[in-house]
Symmetry: C2
Subunit: 124 residues, 2 copies
């Protein structure tokens, strides 16, 4: 547990929405944490491997994002098309649907990915 890894973790813990590697990198620099971008990538990879962080890919974006696993159950996100603001959706409306899809497709359903986009209050 190096000081750079602690800085990465601390930033993820204190942010309510998922962060991209380059966002993390920029904020750590602003906090005067000396860290290389590739180290951010490697820390995120390691933290994901041990189940501490969760990797998220939003449909409208090119980079991955990461958020803490702890205390954040399975949920989905909504993203503003204008300013990029990302917010958690606390509900998951799809649990009931799985059986229906299994019937229809004969697949055995594992996961799902769901996200919304639109316009946040400020951008409407």
């Amino acid at each position: 547990m190096t000081r750079t890894r602690q800085a990465v973790l601390g930033l993820l813990e204190s942010t309510k929405y998922p962060l991209s590697p380059s966002e993390l990198y920029a904020r750590l620099k602003k906090q005067n944490v000396a860290i290389d971008l590739v180290t951010v990538y490697r820390n995120l990879h390691a933290l994901k491997a041990i189940g501490v962080v969760r990797q998220i890919k939003l449909h409208q974006e090119e980079q991955f994002r990461y958020e803490m696993e702890e205390g954040r159950e399975h949920h989905h996100h909504i993203r503003c098309k204008s300013c990029g603001k990302i917010e958690d959706l606390l509900l998951c409306p799809l649990k009931k649907l799985t059986a229906l899809i299994e019937q229809e497709t004969r697949f055995l359903v594992g996961d799902h990915s769901l996200e919304f986009s639109g316009w946040c209050p400020k951008c409407q």
Copy 2:
């Protein structure tokens, strides 16, 4: 409308699931269509711009996929974690949910993206 563009279109029309640029390229080569990969990309870009094809990004994959717009209303996909088989889901369960999410988040909801993954009949 060049012969290469017609070949790309024909392949998309005759395939029931979305194709990636490299899949298209490989199949066109097998059909002895002389075409460069970058031309496949440019044709897909152009066809998307005029609303003929739809671009899809599946959460588990690194490449985009493309399917015809015509005759295929808004729908979602399921992908096999084992063999990669992709199938259409004909229903969209989320129309009713939009109002609820708008209430909760104060966002104005535009689009959504939804996909399932699991195991297809052959891979179970």
